[in-house]
């Protein structure tokens, strides 16, 4: 059973999202890291990069797979988790603290459209 945290929002692409003062923090869920297997590389966006919702902002690679991490909302990258450059395994070890990027968002309403933990849990059941 993969871990789902109540205080986060989720996407169908298995990203988790938290919101604080107009900035979101994004990572991938426990389910996502488990299906990818041992993560060998995280390609981070550049600070100041602008993305529209749904654009590929980062990429996570295991030996046998490469998964895009999308811009969960539209906005500008303000921070990236540089620790992942040397230690991509942190995503496997602690997916909910190993965030990938932070983004200043344009439209906070978009956040409200994301799944809450219950909806995500149902979603996982539906795809398994």
């Amino acid at each position: 059973m993969s871990e789902i945290r109540d205080d986060l929002r989720y996407t169908e692409n298995h990203e988790w999202v938290s919101l604080k003062d107009g900035t979101v923090r994004v990572g991938i869920t426990d389910y996502a890291q488990d299906s990818l297997g041992e993560i060998v590389y995280v390609e981070l966006p550049e600070i100041e990069d602008e993305f529209s919702q749904g654009e590929e902002a980062a990429s996570i690679e295991s030996v046998k797979a490469a998964a895009p991490v999308y811009a969960v909302m539209s906005g500008r990258i303000t921070k990236v988790n540089r620790k992942l450059e040397d230690s991509p395994e942190l995503v496997n070890e602690a997916p909910y603290s190993a965030y990938i990027y932070e983004m200043e968002i344009r439209d906070p309403d978009e956040f409200e459209h994301l799944m809450d933990s219950e909806a995500y849990s149902d979603y996982l059941e539906s795809i398994d």
Partner: protein
């Protein structure tokens, strides 16, 4: 024991080959080209004598597997035997010692060869004309996509930007299409493992550029609705691309041109017996239907009576796709093969390739799950999913078990739509005895999975190396020695 690297064997002062004595005054680089362009020192290459270099490569060879050493049923790669006469033809000085920019008059043999081979390949595939310039299958696909683009451009149909690929397609298909600016739409296989008109229907509009298919597909199944598919795609103004990776199933039996394909690439290193060379050089000729001929790359090779020429005067051409005329010596081998095989031999190759595949499939399906249980063509895909659930043994473990038995594993984990896939392509060049031994080994590994899974997890033992740490390799890549 790991073989030391060439660099580790190096000893200052050794040389492996000599040049003739210089018979003109030696130029001093400092003086002739000037100190600002001169290197401080030559590159730090290893210093070895000839015997060391020869032994080095022969020792490396002992740690490598090839078709000449044993059975190599690597699905989708058509690892058939590489006839030795091809090698002799490709080493003829008249082919090897010719420069690509010699006067046309002095390369009539090379031009005639390219022209003849193109004609034969067109006949085998039912296409109108083609180019030998693309050096590999993926290169051919890219060329094909450029041809699609040029065709729609000419017709002013720039809206046509969507390219359909089945989810079972080779990874190169969507990659080539995307690189050429097409939007890739993946469609699923139906319950038969085939592309259906239903799956296609929603995409048949004025944004459709076309569809890329392999026929037989990567599951080894013939796309039986191909005529309806090509009709539907053509009716909505799109084109059809044929990935020729699987042509070895249908030579002399069915031709992509007759199925309605507009552009195809072949892999001469698969179907036409040229060696794979550890990953290349290959050759990926592109052949087209009549309406796409004007867009083919330059130069074309034309014939006027007994004279062959390069023709650069092709205003609608997509241009050049590689430096010269492709991997010429690979094309020499392919033509030699076609001459030996002849029309009857090519057909027999496909017939026996399909017979070999069905024979293996029949014997292996009771043990390993066969997703689509119908007659296959030149290859078939088994799944180790059930085995994995019951024993923990995966497709990779079976692959490693085969290595211990002196057999190259099938393609694993492809196509992506079959879990724990083992994709097996025996080719026509294998004997019944070889197939029987493979069946025995696969049965034995199946038993081992239940009786002693741990030993299989640790396989292969007694090879040059055991399983390697690919995670470590990718996390902290070292791709150059002491760089």
């Amino acid at each position: 024991m790991s073989e030391l690297l060439l660099f580790e064997k190096s000893k200052e002062g050794r040389r492996g080959f000599l040049l003739p004595a210089l018979d003109v005054p030696a130029a001093d680089p400092q003086e002739v080209i000037g100190p600002s362009i001169c290197a401080d020192a030559p590159p730090a290459l290893p210093q070895l004598c000839e015997v060391e270099v020869t032994r080095h490569y022969q020792n490396l060879a002992r740690k490598n597997f090839g078709v000449d050493l044993g059975f190599y049923p690597l699905g989708s790669c058509t690892m058939k035997y590489n006839p030795k006469v091809n090698e002799e033809a490709a080493s003829l000085p008249g082919f090897c010692e010719v420069h690509p920019l010699q006067p046309e008059e002095s390369v009539q043999g090379s031009l005639k060869l390219l022209h003849t081979l193109t004609s034969f390949l067109c006949e085998i595939t039912g296409m109108s004309w083609g180019t030998m310039q693309s050096m590999a299958g993926a290169h051919g696909e890219f060329t094909g996509m450029k041809l699609f683009r040029a065709y729609f451009q000419k017709r002013g149909e720039t809206r046509r930007n969507r390219l359909i690929v089945p989810s079972s397609s080779h990874g190169t298909n969507p990659a080539s299409a995307h690189l050429s600016g097409f939007e890739v739409v993946e469609i699923p296989a139906d319950s038969r493992g085939l592309v259906s008109l239903e799956a296609l229907a929603p995409h048949l509009d004025d944004r459709l550029a076309g569809i890329m298919l392999t026929n037989p597909n990567t599951l080894g199944l013939f796309e039986t609705d191909i005529l309806e598919i090509s009709q539907a795609v053509h009716d909505s103004g799109g084109l059809l691309y044929y990935d020729g990776a699987n042509l070895n199933a249908v030579m002399g039996i069915s031709r992509p041109g007759d199925m309605g394909f507009d552009v195809i690439h072949l892999n001469l290193h698969k179907t036409f017996s040229t060696p794979h060379g550890g990953g290349g050089p290959g050759s990926g000729p592109v052949l087209v239907s009549k309406r796409l001929v004007p867009f083919l790359p330059v130069p074309d090779v034309t014939q006027e009576g007994d004279i062959y020429r390069f023709s650069w005067d092709r205003p609608e051409s997509i241009g050049k796709i590689s430096g010269f005329y492709g991997n010429f010596l690979v094309n020499v081998r392919a033509l030699t093969y076609i001459l030996v095989m002849g029309c009857d031999g090519l057909k027999r190759a496909s017939q026996m390739a399909v017979l070999n595949a069905n024979y293996l499939m029949k014997h292996l399906k009771p043990l390993y799950h066969l997703t689509y249980d119908v007659i296959c063509k030149h290859e078939f895909v088994l799944s180790a999913e059930r085995l994995k659930k019951e024993t923990g043994i995966t497709a990779v473990d079976i692959a490693k078990g085969l290595i211990e038995e002196g057999i190259h594993p099938p393609t694993v984990y492809f196509p992506l739509i079959v879990p724990e896939a083992l994709m097996i392509e025996p080719t026509e060049t294998e004997t019944l005895e070889t197939l029987d031994r493979f069946i025995e080994v696969m049965k034995h590994l199946h038993r081992r999975a239940y009786e002693d899974p741990q030993s299989l997890k640790e396989a292969p033992s007694h090879m040059a190396v055991s399983r390697v740490d690919d995670v470590g390799a990718a996390r902290h890549p070292r791709v150059c020695w002491e760089c």
